[in-house]
Assembly symmetry: C2
Homo-oligomer: 182 residues x 2
Amino acid sequence: MTRARALTELEGAVLGVIRAKGPCTPYAVRREFQASTTPYWRVSAGAIYPLVARLTRERLIRAVRPTGDARGGTLYALTPAGGRALLRWLGPPLTPLTVGAPPDPLRTRVGFLGLLSPAARTAFLDEAADTLRRQLAELAAVADGAPIDPFERLARRGSYLAMETRLTWILEVRKALGVPIG
Amino acid sequence: MTRARALTELEGAVLGVIRAKGPCTPYAVRREFQASTTPYWRVSAGAIYPLVARLTRERLIRAVRPTGDARGGTLYALTPAGGRALLRWLGPPLTPLTVGAPPDPLRTRVGFLGLLSPAARTAFLDEAADTLRRQLAELAAVADGAPIDPFERLARRGSYLAMETRLTWILEVRKALGVPIG
DNA sequence: ACAGCCATGTAATCGGTTACATGATTGG
DNA sequence: CCAATCATGTAACCGATTACATGGCTGT
């Protein structure tokens, strides 16, 4: 009984997608991630195919049948071991890295805002606020008329709330620094 | 004039720390990150020393003097090119990846909560809520009596707000799923 | 004095990105 | 029909992690 290694975030999420959507090609999994609202999940071809090969080698997924078309694609599904690995990754229990404050490049930069001239600081904060407002509008638009799974909906709600909080925080920062009317 | 490559988040933040604190040893920079409130910035020895070597090779930082003790440490400071690289990394302008929704492993998992049994789901959400509450208390405690830079304070405030929002969101999820009294 | 931590590194490995290659499919 | 895009991969590289090695420093 060789100890099961911990899955990466991407591996766990890929298992989750395959489990939730049924047998998938690697490409279909990739599209699923690209459709997500966070730009973080880019999932290049160079990531997904080796990842699928890895999970197959470890018997967490297996090829169930070819797609049928002439491109030679293959549909993969979870094995029982894959299902167990998914549940272990998903939790409970939750790891500190899962629950702890996620990284935020915008927040990192605000910590160094003292290094900018007042003018550049204003430009930074104004651009941040504008972009956040635009992205919030997009998120709201996507939410309307999207016939999606309730759990995916809750996750997107979390994303929306996070963005909203970032915007109010940026406005608070601007006020705290006494930035002239934005 | 060879084109300057883009800096990674870690490289940019390291330049920022050195600029803000004055000449530092690599180890001192590392401690600075470990003291941050997000568990994401672990900055192993195997990351920081090669990174410092890289930035030195590219003339963005330079060794200014030895620490003096017998351990052979070296203090590094920014070069003028390093200062410019820092400002380019910091922005404005801001990239979509900087402003866009940051990744959140908790949010990712909530999207797959449908795969858990109701009991496991309750356990997941209760554990998440408990941990978030505990971490919020810690963050508040740290905030009191911390004589820090105003910009670092604003960044921590952002971290606190983000955690607070995640907690209220988790409670909302629990209510939406009709979880029996937590 | 010496156990345990501090500080400075190095080597192997790993998971991901970018860039490229190739053939199937589709829209005008 | 042919250009653009879809779909399936591969190769080279890169930045980070884990694990290890070494020696200085410090508290009891």
